[in-house]
């Protein structure tokens, strides 16, 4: 059974995801950041699907657990493609889109195989354990890729404020989830508490992206060196 606050966060998160799409449509950025918007549409659909499974079978059911973890992995894979979209924007002058996509798919398959190998060695609860392991690893690889992209933003002196904020928001999201999944593996008794935190963390990305699309003009510029933690 979920509390009122959990329902409220769930609803808020779904509305925030929908608002990203609306904001980018209104500001004319929908096609420019197509993969990001498709990911957000996917997130809304998954939210509705999860609610349907939850209402039909209950929170503690195997069906809900399977639906939750399976859709989570699928969404993380979609977010990979959103990330490659951001890579394509940063490297657009180099016309390296094909190479970026190929590398991302290779990395994705490698991460899944690595997670499978770990789970096959150690677990009797194969399915759920595999999804937790794959989610942790995918989030971490996503985080590393976002960090590399952030490095490229610095190196190439990317100045588009909107793009910079989209990248930073993605980094925040990946690092929060990677830390949460890793902590679940490190300290299993905290799993339930951390699982309840997921919807709150899940709100970070749609809220920050909606802000970037709505409030930051597409032609706004920023000096990336001024954002470094260590002054340059």
């Amino acid at each position: 059974m979920l509390g009122l606050s959990a329902y409220a966060i769930w609803l808020l998160c779904t509305l925030a995801e929908a608002s990203v799409v609306v904001c980018s449509l209104v500001r004319g950025s929908f096609r420019k950041y197509l993969a990001l918007n498709l990911y957000m549409i996917g997130s809304v659909v998954v939210s509705v699907l999860r609610y349907w499974v939850f209402a039909s079978y209950g929170y503690a059911s195997d069906q809900y657990a399977f639906c939750y973890y399976y859709s989570d992995v699928l969404l993380t894979i979609c977010l990979y493609f959103a990330l490659t979209n951001l890579y394509a924007h940063v490297f657009e002058e180099m016309a390296a889109e094909k190479n970026i996509r190929f590398s991302a798919i290779l990395l994705l398959v490698g991460t899944a195989a690595f997670s499978l190998a770990i789970v096959l060695q150690s677990s009797h609860r194969f399915t759920t354990r595999f999804f937790v392991e794959v989610s942790q690893n995918l989030n971490f690889v996503g985080l590393v890729l976002t960090y590399i992209l952030w490095g490229a933003v610095f190196k190439l002196r990317e100045t588009r404020t909107q793009l910079i904020q989209l990248v930073l928001a993605l980094g925040l999201y990946f690092s929060l989830f990677a830390a949460s999944f890793a902590l679940r593996n490190l300290y299993p008794p905290a799993s339930d508490l951390l699982k309840n935190m997921d919807p709150i963390i899940g709100c970070v990305l749609p809220l920050t992206w909606a802000y970037a699309f709505w409030r930051v003009p597409s032609d706004a510029r920023l000096r990336p060196a001024g954002l470094a933690v260590v002054p340059r």
């Binding site: 770990i118 942790q136 690893n137 971490f140 985080l143 976002t146 960090y147 952030w150 404020t161 910079i164 904020q165 930073l168 928001a169 980094g171 925040l172 990946f174 690092s175 929060l176 990677a178 830390a179 999944f181 890793a182 902590l183 593996n185 490190l186 809220l207 920050t208 802000y211 709505w214 409030r215 930051v216 706004a220 920023l222 000096r223 001024g226 954002l227 470094a228 933690v229 002054p231």
Partner: protein, 133 residues
């Protein structure tokens, strides 16, 4: 072992992304010039200092909220809290870090003053609309 490494790296990356994200929010407001009346109200004359932040935030909470700036102000408030924590712990040992946290706290205060200016303008517009109606 792998989970431990992932956790440690994630926390370090999280801090870096959080600081950079907050700085990107603050950067936009640093170019704006404060009006003389906001300077009078906040007591920020030439340049802001970290000590001004709490006072400006109190003034900010007296004005009606605009939905767009709420999450931004919360994020910068959390960033200010992080800077205060660093200032009272690590920066005591590393003097250069103290100068950096002081400069960042001042930027946060200036950001809050710019947000106050926006909220005052928003309140005036609201009042004007009500008068017209």
């Amino acid at each position: 072992m792998i989970a431990g490494i992932i956790f440690a790296c994630s926390v370090v990356f999280l801090l870096q992304f959080f600081v950079s994200y907050c700085r990107s929010l603050i950067a936009a407001s640093s170019k704006q010039v404060l009006s003389p009346e906001v300077r009078d109200v906040t007591g920020i004359s030439a340049s802001a200092s970290g000590e001004d932040f709490q006072r400006v935030m109190q003034l900010l909470h007296l004005c009606p909220e605009t939905p767009e700036d709420r999450s931004r102000i919360q994020a910068v408030g959390a960033y200010f809290g992080l800077l205060n924590f660093m200032r009272s712990t690590v920066a005591r040992v590393v003097p250069s870090l103290r100068a950096w946290t002081d400069a960042e706290r001042a930027h946060c205060a200036y950001f809050a003053a710019v947000a106050l200016e926006r909220r005052i303008a928003f309140s005036r517009d609201l009042l004007a609309q009500q008068m017209d109606a």
